[in-house]
């Protein structure tokens, strides 16, 4: 059966019959078209079925614009918090020795394996103003977490927590700390060493992690849905608008808001791809 027909340029090393090659090719392309390409294309088709009308219509709905603004604000806040936290933890994990380091490194990945609904439940159990562990005390001091912006931001922070750390840690390890030691021995203080030596070395990893976190934060649904209360025009986020409008048969609005989220995600993807090529060019 192994007929050694390796026509030049057809398949890479390993040989293989042309029939098998074609079979696999068709199988893969067919699978991806049916599962991803065609459905995604149809989403776009639905969105622009009446030109830009449905987009314009949703942008005039104050509830929708409020949701989009809220999602934007929450995503930015969550990314900033995760950036600061991520930088500190990455530096600690790679450059310092302290008891419990391995455990921390393992715990950091926990949010990736938790179901979004469970994340929401976890936050409720601690911060709910009625039955939470800390919630009632916080409310007596005038701090609302659940059903308010802080809770939405926390839920978003939770699910995107490890992303920046996962990007920075391998790069920090690869860089080593020779240059940092050199800077210090030449009299630079910790702050100068960080700004002048460490940060430039990891800037692409940081940028990459930030974009990934931003995309994840804009699109979070389950965890936010549990803690936000979903009050139209107040605590409802963009992803929740997609669900609400779909369930109330307002399909045009649903597709339009979904398209905006997709657009944001695609922009993030493109930025990430550009950062990657730039990073690789610099390394070369």
């Amino acid at each position: 059966m192994a007929s050694h027909v390796s026509s030049p340029g057809s398949t890479a090393a390993g040989g293989g019959t042309t029939a098998t090659t074609w079979l696999l090719r068709v199988l893969v392309v067919g699978y991806l078209v049916m599962l991803v390409v065609w459905p995604t294309a149809y989403l776009l088709r639905h969105t622009f079925a009446h030109g830009f009308e449905s987009l314009q219509a949703v942008l005039q709905d104050p509830d929708v614009t409020h949701a989009l603004t809220l999602t934007g604000q929450v995503a930015v806040a969550a990314v900033v918090i995760n950036l600061v936290f991520g930088m500190v933890v990455s530096l600690l994990l790679v450059r310092y020795d302290f008891p419990g380091k391995r455990v921390l490194s393992w715990l950091i990945d926990l949010p990736l394996s938790a179901s979004p609904v469970v994340v929401g439940l976890a936050l409720l159990l601690v911060y709910s103003p009625i039955y939470g562990w800390f919630g009632p005390t916080l409310r007596n001091n005038g701090i609302e977490v659940i059903f308010a912006k802080p809770g939405i931001i926390m839920a978003t922070c939770f699910v995107a927590l490890p992303l920046i750390i996962r990007e920075i840690v391998p790069v920090l390890e690869e860089l080593g700390d020779d240059q940092e030691q050199a800077a210090r021995s030449l009299g630079a203080n910790a702050w100068q060493t960080f700004w002048r030596v460490t940060l430039p070395g990891i800037r692409w990893a940081v940028a990459y992690g930030v974009v990934l976190s931003l995309a994840r934060s804009l699109g979070e649904f389950g965890a936010v849905k549990v803690v936000s209360g979903n009050v139209k025009g107040q605590t409802e986020t963009a992803t929740k608008v997609v669900e609400r409008t779909y369930q109330s048969q307002d399909l045009d609005a649903s597709y339009a808001v979904a398209f905006m989220l997709v657009f944001a995600a695609v922009v993030c993807l493109v930025v990430v791809a550009l950062l990657r090529t730039r990073d690789e060019k610099e390394k070369a």
Binding site: T40, L93, K101, V117, T239
Partner: protein, 285 residues
């Protein structure tokens, strides 16, 4: 070059464990100690204490909470459906993901780069949009004449969509790094293509396939956003996470926490089972 993009964050590329680089790690200073303290307080408030609260809540009522949850007919059905679906999706991904990675690495045809980009779409899209994407082609008014809204195949479709990239993205880099010398040698010694594949290529890919498979299983049992629209609130199509949400909405947080703990146990068991399977395959080739 293939950009391994994973906007979702459940990245296929496993992070190397943080380890101190050959004795260069330093003892904590005052500043870094303070940083560690503040970071730990935030991490505890955000992640550790809340997750502990789930476990405490679930175990607070002793076995009776778990018994109540597991003997509830619709919850049990949802858990069983979630598990069966996750297993099928994982097997499908293990096979299709490997085939896709193979074609992306070894085959060459125009438009392949675009295909590589397509793999990232499921990670990039918000989960609720992923559900809407599935409904736009396979939902009500589908041009294909099918309607998976509120059906089990519909929910499965959503799971297959969101878990697509895991195996592809773990196998792809390994396959790229794999030298073809051994394959050529085997072929020149008269091994058939199938034998070469089974004895030379697959063994080197097995760890990557299993790593991707366990990621996609974990995602499949915990998925919520993409399933919500497709399940259409029908009892037969409820999955574990939609049941959890119903319990939370109904104010029964103990039951919700119990499901969360059951899922956690299932995830741990799956890791063990996959590990045993992988060892066995490594031994028998």
């Amino acid at each position: 070059m293939t950009a391994t993009v994973s906007v979702d964050g459940r990245s296929a590329r496993a992070r190397r464990p943080a380890r101190s680089t050959s004795g260069s790690a330093r003892k904590l200073t005052a500043t870094s100690g303070l940083g560690l303290g503040v970071a730990m307080i935030w991490f505890s408030l955000l992640v550790l204490i809340p997750l502990a609260a789930v476990v405490v809540k679930a175990s607070g009522g002793g076995w009776s909470t778990f018994e109540h949850v597991l003997t509830n007919a619709s919850t049990f059905r949802a858990l069983r459906f979630t598990l069966v679906m996750a297993v099928i999706a994982t097997v499908l991904n293990a096979v299709m993901g490997t085939v896709i990675a193979w074609v992306l690495v070894r085959d060459r045809f125009p438009g392949k780069g675009l295909l590589d980009l397509v793999i990232d779409i499921p990670f990039a899209l918000p989960t609720i949009v992923a559900g809407l994407v599935m409904l736009s082609l396979y939902g009500p008014g589908s041009p294909l004449g099918v309607n998976v809204y509120g059906t089990k195949p519909g929910v499965f479709l959503a799971i297959a969509f969101v878990t697509l990239p895991f195996v592809v993205r773990t196998v792809q880099p390994v396959l790229e790094a794999l030298e073809t010398d051994a394959e050529e040698a085997a072929a020149s010694l008269g091994a058939s293509r199938f034998t070469t594949l089974r004895r030379i290529v697959l063994p080197s890919l097995t760890p990557a396939i299993f790593a991707g498979a366990s990621l996609s299983f974990a995602r499949a049992i915990s998925e919520y956003g993409s399933v919500v629209l497709l399940s259409g609130n029908r009892a037969g199509t409820a999955v574990a996470s939609t049941r959890t949400y119903s319990y939370i909405e109904g104010g029964n947080t103990a039951a919700a926490a119990a499901i969360a703990v059951v899922l956690l146990v299932v995830a741990l068991l799956a890791i063990i089972v996959l590990d045993v399977l992988q060892r066995r395959m490594a031994r028998h080739g």
